[in-house]
């Protein structure tokens, strides 16, 4: 099942480039290190190449081309990303599947949504159609964007709506990067809420990653002194690919299938009110230390479970006091209640890992049936040099705290109409803002009542 990636805006394009590069690195890993027999390795490599890349069967010597469409309002980033791909020598972007204009969007969501979006629409849809025709089996779309800027968020939101019109039955998975709380763009909160409200209506699921958390991971776990966007992008890609790289899903007892986007979506987002997904993975450590560490599934899963319950972003600084079953005086759960979880295990001895702790019905909302609680996926092939790694994609309350905070700040700015004229200039009216606030407040309320 092929996945077509839409890289929108500067952030989206950089993450996309890094993602395909990581995939290629994974594919070209030394077969000895994969810990699986060679035919399994072959199967895995073919899966990755057919899902994310397109190889023209006729010309044998051609490099695999990423199934990606790139959109940006400035030519710089796209050019840089394409060149990086070519330099690697192992893959490249397909010709003529990039759209770039000359002048950017100036971090203005309205500029992106109302002006650039409609102009770029036809061309982008055509490019996507071309990609879709090359797929035998279109599994879904993966959109990469950030929430703070103007292009990724504004143009991205518009393009996603057009994509939904064009492909009403396809699965659309959006990955958004939440800006730093002390971010440099003043109107980032406006951009964030406008984008999220529009996306919520059209896509199937939104994977939320927060720059603050990613930054902490880089500094505390990976021990990187000077953190650049490249490092953060690497972390993002590691998380994304832990879920999306080929693996086997144990859907029902005795029935397995491959982890296509459709299967993941079916499990994670059954109710359209709850679309926010977050990812936690373990372990994460600097490359130099990996070969000197060894892990046990038991320990990894215990930490991961506590990360879920206590809503910790990484395996350091977890609050071990939070326990399932504690209730607040008014009867609500103190821990992080989930709607659905998808646990993907990769590496040695995956079949010995015991995941029953994640199936505890107390972790989930009362109306979630046992079959809908935990979806387990396994892949014996080692991923990204970690002998054992686990990633948890969960539909739970964790993004709500951040969302609440952002909406609050945006509302404060809006009530004094700060910077709103910049948006009005390009065609956005106050009602659009109010609509967005209402949508997001509803989402927050829904999740709080889980």
């Amino acid at each position: 099942m092929s996945i077509i990636t839409l890289q929108l805006g500067q952030c989206g394009n950089q993450i996309g480039g890094q993602m395909f590069q990581s995939l290629m690195d994974d594919v070209h890993m030394k077969p000895i290190n994969t810990l699986v027999p060679p035919n399994r390795n072959e199967e895995y490599i073919n899966d990755v190449l057919s899902t994310f890349f397109y190889q023209d069967g006729r010309s044998e010597n051609q490099l695999p081309r990423a199934r990606a469409v790139m959109v940006d309002m400035e030519p710089k980033v796209i050019a840089q990303t394409c060149m990086d791909a070519k330099k690697s020598g192992k893959w490249q972007y397909p010709d003529k599947q990039q759209l770039s204009q000359q002048r950017g969007s100036g971090n203005n969501w309205a500029h992106g949504f109302c002006i650039h979006g409609p102009k770029a629409k036809d061309q982008v849809i055509e490019m996507v159609q071309k990609e879709a025709e090359k797929c035998d089996n279109l599994g879904g779309f993966l959109s990469l964007m950030s929430l703070a800027g103007g292009t990724g968020s504004g143009v991205g939101a518009y393009i996603t709506e057009c994509l939904r019109d064009e492909f009403p039955h396809a699965f659309i998975l959006n990955q958004v990067v939440w800006p730093y709380n002390t971010g440099e763009v003043i109107v980032q909160n406006y951009n964030a809420i406008l984008t999220l409200s529009h996306l919520y209506r059209t896509v199937d699921a939104v994977i939320v990653m927060q720059n603050d958390h990613l930054h902490k991971i880089c500094s505390q776990l990976l021990n990187i002194k000077k953190i650049s966007f490249k490092d953060i992008n690497k972390v993002i890609c590691h998380k994304l690919l832990s879920i999306l790289s080929p693996g086997t899903l144990h859907k029902y007892p005795g029935f397995t299938c491959s982890n296509s986007i459709g299967e993941i979506m079916e499990h994670m987002v059954p109710i359209s009110d709850y679309k926010l997904l977050t990812m936690k993975n373990i372990p994460q450590m600097p490359e130099s230390s990996i070969q000197f560490s060894s892990f046990q599934w038991h320990g990894l899963l215990k930490h991961l479970r506590q990360m879920l319950i206590a809503d910790a972003a990484m395996e350091e600084g977890i609050d071990w006091q939070v326990k399932v079953g504690d209730e607040t005086p008014r009867g609500g759960a103190k821990h992080n209640q989930s709607l659905a979880n998808f646990l993907m295990l990769r590496g040695k001895d995956v079949n010995t890992a015991d995941t029953t702790a994640f199936e505890d019905s107390m972790l989930y909302a009362p109306w979630v049936p046992p079959g809908g609680a935990l979806l387990k996926g396994t892949q014996p092939r080692v991923f990204n040099q970690y002998e054992k790694s686990a990633c948890l994609l969960s539909n739970s309350k964790s993004p709500i705290v951040q969302m609440d905070y952002t909406v609050g700040k945006a509302w404060n700015m809006f009530s004094s109409r700060g910077y709103v004229h910049q948006y009005n200039k390009h065609g956005l009216v106050d009602e659009d803002f109010v609509d967005s606030f209402v949508t997001l407040e509803q989402v927050i309320a829904n999740y709080k009542n889980l």
Partner: protein, 444 residues
């Protein structure tokens, strides 16, 4: 006699091969003599054949249905279906619902169905060649026994409040929708791949109607060891078709035998007329009322139109007798003079006159009722100022016809004049030395 038996055996074989349940030739003979033991077999045979007519195949659903329906339900269903197809035999409809007797009637019904629906032809059509299959999945051996049973997994253990129940249902609904979307994607993929197979084998074909190989044929090319299986299937099909063809040859015998069954029935009918049996007819309850009202309406209409028709006939008769040959001739000549007069009138008109006549005219669109026209024109003239009152209103249809005629005339005139001037020009050109006359483009 032996021939009849053979034919019936053949028929039984054909039926059996096409999916009906076991039936013996003996049952046919018993049914001829209205023996009660054969009744049940024939009811079930009829049921299966009716199912085949409706759905094109006799499959497990039919057998399951037969097992689950009670005897009465099955009998009523068969009666209903047969009536729907047009088999309105009273005796058939009054057969007892517990399958106790009446096998001859059912045999007659079966023969009627066989003939009317052309069952043998339908059987032949349903014999499709396995090589034409686009879906080779029936060649694979699947293990379906231990497949998942997800239904238990989706039930909640705890007792839920109504709001939570709604959420639970929404969750199940969402999962179903996602599954449907995934199925749609798989369907698209299947079509795409089939197309690819067809495209890549363009030009090669085993079947004269197609221009490419089917997916099944390609699959067999890749896995020649499956040929044996296909061969067996083809042989079975062949046998089936062979039997049906020989049935076609021997049909006559069967139908003659059926005639003898009818004879038996008529003979017995005189002897046995038991009144008071319940007849089943599939008539809707208000049909009688509807039929009564329809009859009444028809009678009224006939009364009304009858009178008018009589009057018209009288007039026709009177006219026919009164008018003589002479008067017909006079009529014809007067019409001819009228036409020639009109023609003369038109010829005298010149184009200048036409142009001059373009005054202010008021047009009216009315139906062919002269009275209305004059009324209207008087009405309009009363509202119009004195200067414009000079012209009466004109019927637009007439004006249009008039203008069309004038247009035709102008065209004729123009053509004639054009010819005249062209010949004049050419004559002139020939007299002037060293000159050529070249017509302008638009005239050619």
């Amino acid at each position: 006699m032996a021939q009849v038996r053979e034919t019936i055996e053949l028929l039984v074989k054909v039926l059996r091969e096409n999916g009906t349940s076991k039936i013996k030739a003996e049952s046919f003979r018993l049914a001829k003599f209205n023996n009660d033991t054969a009744t049940e077999t024939f009811w079930s045979l009829l049921f299966e054949l009716l199912y085949f007519c409706k759905y094109g195949t006799i499959d497990e659903v039919a057998f399951k249905a037969k097992a689950e329906l009670s005897i009465e339900e099955l009998v009523v269903y068969v009666k209903q279906e047969m009536q729907r197809k047009g088999f309105l035999s009273r005796e058939f409809a009054s057969l007892p619902n517990d399958m106790s007797s009446g096998s001859r009637e059912i045999l007659l019904g079966f023969a009627w169905l066989l003939c009317k629906e052309g069952l043998i032809d339908k059987f032949m059509e349903s014999c499709s060649s396995p090589l034409d299959e686009e879906d080779p999945s029936f060649m694979f051996e699947f293990e379906f026994e231990d497949m998942a049973k997800p239904s238990k997994q989706m039930q909640t253990q705890r007792v839920l409040s109504p709001g939570q129940k709604v959420q639970h249902l929404r969750l199940l609904n969402g999962k179903l929708r996602s599954n449907i979307r995934q199925l749609q994607a798989l369907q698209r993929e299947k079509t795409k791949l089939q197309n690819r197979v067809h495209d890549s084998t363009y030009g090669v074909s085993l079947n004269p109607e197609r221009n490419h190989l089917s997916v099944m044929e390609v699959h067999l090319l890749k896995h020649p060891e499956l040929m044996k299986k296909i061969l067996k299937l083809l042989e079975k099909d062949n046998e089936r078709l062979q039997n049906m063809l020989s049935w076609k040859d021997q049909e006559e015998v069967f139908w003659k035998w059926m005639e003898s069954v009818l004879d038996h029935k008529l003979k017995d009918k005189v002897e046995d007329m038991s009144p008071g049996r319940m007849t089943f007819y599939n008539i809707p309850p208000d049909a009688v009322v509807k039929m009564e009202s329809a009859k009444q309406q028809l009678e009224d209409a006939i009364m009304k139109y009858e009178q008018i028709i009589e009057e018209i006939e009288e007039i026709w008769e009177s006219k026919r007798s009164s008018i003589s040959e002479r008067e017909l001739d006079n009529l014809l000549s007067s019409i001819n003079t009228e036409i020639s007069l009109q023609r003369a009138n038109l010829a005298l008109d010149s184009t200048e006159d036409i142009l001059r006549n373009q005054k202010e005219t008021r047009f009216l669109l009315t139906k062919n009722n002269s009275k209305k026209l004059s009324n209207l024109s008087s009405h309009i003239s009363s509202h119009v100022t004195p200067q414009e009152q000079s012209l009466p209103a004109v019927d637009i249809e007439q004006e249009l016809a008039l203008m069309e005629r004038q247009l035709e005339r102008i065209e004729l005139e123009t053509n004639r004049k054009r010819e005249k001037y062209r010949s004049q020009l050419e004559n002139l050109a020939s007299t002037v030395p060293e000159a050529i006359c070249i017509q302008p483009m638009s005239c050619r």
